[in-house]
């Protein structure tokens, strides 16, 4: 009886190897783009440009963190950009109504939590698919934003707060702006949660086989609810950052960002079917889209072409590992046939 696993371990066990991992590929591509930019494009490497390039994707990056967790758990939240808009509109409306900024922020965050609760409640209690629910709340939250602020734009936010978000103020000695710094910290925390805690494990289990996870005692509903709440919270907070960064609170802020967030996360190799992905990949995906856009714009590549490049990148990012795996497998099979 071959109980010992080692007797099974044929010497050829290394041949297949892990192949090219998707997230690694995106990471490599990111580094390549940075190197090309630094070497060949004037102005790309300047501190103010780098500060700008990263700060410019701060909100998308912030939302991408909880979105990664959601997608790993097999869910999706399309209402994030609308929640960003609602956060921004509320910030503006309350500021105009004379509230202190210190009270506005917690209130806006609470609204984010409430929005997340609604999403989560509809998904976990009513049992609707998250895609359907959040297409609905996408319209709802954006609509509420426009109810809150109408066609107004509120501008004059206090300088001290505005300074915190703009790309001209950086952490001394670096090109990191404060929103980006915050992102780095939160990304580290999220990475630990996803890859080194029981909660993270549960997310993968829920994402790949919800029923089996439930039968294993994983609190599927509670965890999903929590994820939607965190996503709502982050999105509302991104709304505050957005408002301060542009110094303009409007109901249509961040319109269409949901696709950008999802594209970045998917680009980083997080599987939309759930159960697979790394936070590193998602972060690399976000940064790649941001840096590439900056580099292409600097080189006067037309906006339309940039759109095409984004599309090609998405397709290539899923196709390349497939092709590589296919080649590796074919070679392996040939090796198996001819001893």
């Amino acid at each position: 009886m071959s109980t010992a696993p080692d007797t099974q371990k044929a010497p050829a066990s290394r041949v297949r190897g892990p192949g090219l991992r998707w997230d690694t590929a995106v990471g490599v591509l990111l580094v390549a783009v940075l190197v090309v930019g630094l070497a060949g494009t004037e102005g790309f490497g300047s501190r103010e440009n780098l500060a700008f390039a990263f700060n410019d994707i701060a909100e998308v990056a912030l939302i991408a963190l909880p979105m990664t967790l959601l997608v790993v758990a097999g869910q999706v939240d399309l209402s994030v950009a609308s929640m960003l808009g609602l956060g921004s509109a509320l910030t503006g409306a309350l500021w105009e109504a004379g509230w202190a900024f210190e009270t506005i922020v917690p209130v806006v965050l609470l609204v984010g939590v409430a929005g997340g609760l609604l999403n989560g409640w509809l998904v976990t209690r009513v049992g609707l698919p998250s895609l359907a629910v959040t297409i609905g709340t996408l319209a709802l939250y954006r609509g509420l934003a426009s109810v809150a602020l109408g066609s107004d734009a509120v501008t004059d936010f206090p300088q001290a707060y505005a300074d915190w978000a703009v790309d001209t103020t950086t952490v001394p000695g670096t090109f990191l702006t404060y929103p980006v710094l915050l992102f780095v910290v939160l990304a580290a925390v999220t990475a630990v949660v996803l890859h080194a805690t029981g909660l993270g494990r549960s997310l993968f289990a829920i994402g790949s086989q919800e029923e089996a996870a439930y039968f294993s005692g994983v609190r599927v509903k509670r965890i999903k609810l929590l994820l939607f709440v965190v996503t709502g919270l982050f999105s509302a907070f991104a709304g505050v950052v957005f408002t301060l960064r542009y110094g303009s609170a409007r109901a249509d802020n961040g319109l269409g960002f949901e696709m950008l967030v999802i594209a970045s996360v998917l680009l980083g190799g997080v599987d939309f079917d759930g159960g697979k992905g790394t936070l590193f990949g998602a972060v690399a995906g976000v940064l790649l889209i941001g840096v590439l856009k900056n580099l292409l714009t600097l080189n006067d590549v037309a906006g339309e072409v940039q759109v095409i490049v984004t599309g090609l990148l998405l397709v290539a990012s899923v196709l390349t590992p497939r092709v590589v795996a296919g080649v590796v497998e074919r070679r392996h099979r040939r090796a198996a046939r001819t001893p």
Binding site: F44, V154, D156, Y246, G247, S248, D252, T297, G303
Partner: protein, 333 residues
């Protein structure tokens, strides 16, 4: 929106303050101009920018058009940053949001890049000049006046605008409401402002909804080229043709058919080519030091002749043209 809070803008002291204007300075050769429209695939903006780029060629400069493919406030910002890195001589911008673009534009002015707003203004301290197609007040009021005449100063009217946040639209609508408060319009009632988001299909559907919601509607003002064309098309095919008056801002090429078949009697617009042309020359004048953007300065805009900088750095192109069946065939844009 009239807030009176401490303005984030106050610290941004006018970058123009110190420089001195030299009215006789020649236009510099080889100026690099960048046009940043609201959105690159908007046909109207396209006309402006192409005219501006052509103008730049006239005085030996180069122009290019860059910009986002969606009309979002935030999307313009990354382009401004890039233009700063590229050290353009002047940035011409049709702002999607007067404030969101402010920070980077101030950065640009600090780096001695001239900033000219055209078509849709930014906050006043974030640019040196605003090239206005016509006085905003005049546009708003005259549209109401024209429509009132067409419907005999009596009945319900509605407005079909672009997006809820479009600065120029909202300013014009403000003036329309002002005008409607005058006693002459006591029998007219503005029942609704609808938003077609400058999307053809949405504008179309909004028109349709307006007519169902207000069956006794007498007139529609659509101060946007996309909106008026969509509204005209709906009216032309529906049973409301001839019963509801449509006026607003449109381009002759889009509207020709509807004027000819009687759906629309008249509409107005300035010449967008001239607007782009003027903006281009104004930017060149700024970059060459002929003007600084202070009130009262003058410069020559090629074939269009001499222009004077007005209050708040505003330069007005002129009166809008009113198009109708008689004159429309003389225009092609």
């Amino acid at each position: 929106s009239g807030t009176t809070k401490d303005s984030a803008g106050e610290s941004g002291a006018k970058a123009t303050g110190s420089a001195k204007a030299d009215p006789d300075a020649p236009l510099k050769k080889g100026l690099k101009l960048a046009f940043l429209p609201k959105q690159i695939n908007n046909p109207y903006e396209k006309i402006l920018d192409e005219a501006g780029i052509a103008a730049a060629k006239e005085y030996g400069g180069t122009g290019k058009e860059v910009g986002p493919s969606d009309a979002n406030a935030s999307s313009q910002v990354s382009y401004i940053n890039t233009l700063i890195q590229q050290r353009q001589d002047a940035i011409l911008i049709a702002a999607n949001d007067p404030n969101a673009v402010c920070g980077p534009l101030k950065q640009a002015m600090k780096k001695d890049i001239k900033v000219v707003a055209y078509d849709s203004d930014t906050a006043k301290d974030c640019r040196q000049l605003f090239i206005n197609q016509a006085g905003s007040e005049q546009i708003g009021r005259s549209l109401v006046q024209h429509l009132a005449e067409q419907i005999g100063h009596k009945g319900k009217i509605a407005i079909l605008s672009a997006t809820q946040n479009a600065t120029n639209q909202n300013t014009w609508i403000e003036y329309m409401k002002e005008e409607l408060k005058l006693p002459a319009y006591k029998d007219m009632e503005l029942v609704k402002v609808a938003y077609g988001d400058d999307a053809d299909q949405k504008s179309f559907q909004q028109t349709q909804g307006l007519l169902q919601a207000y069956p006794d509607l007498k007139g529609i003002i659509s101060p946007t080229t996309v909106g008026i064309a969509a509204a005209a098309r709906y009216l032309g095919d529906s049973s409301y043709k001839g019963k509801v008056v449509l006026n607003g801002l449109g381009t002759p090429n889009q509207m020709r058919a509807y004027v000819k078949n009687g759906t629309v009697e008249q509409f107005s617009l300035w010449n967008p080519e001239e607007l782009g042309y003027l903006a281009s020359y104004a930017a060149a004048a700024l970059a060459s030091g002929q003007i600084t953007g202070a009130e009262g300065e003058t410069f020559t805009a090629g074939e269009l002749g001499e222009y004077t900088v007005g209050k708040d750095g505003e330069v007005i192109l002129g009166e809008p043209t009113v198009f109708d069946a008689k004159n429309i065939d003389r225009f092609d844009f």
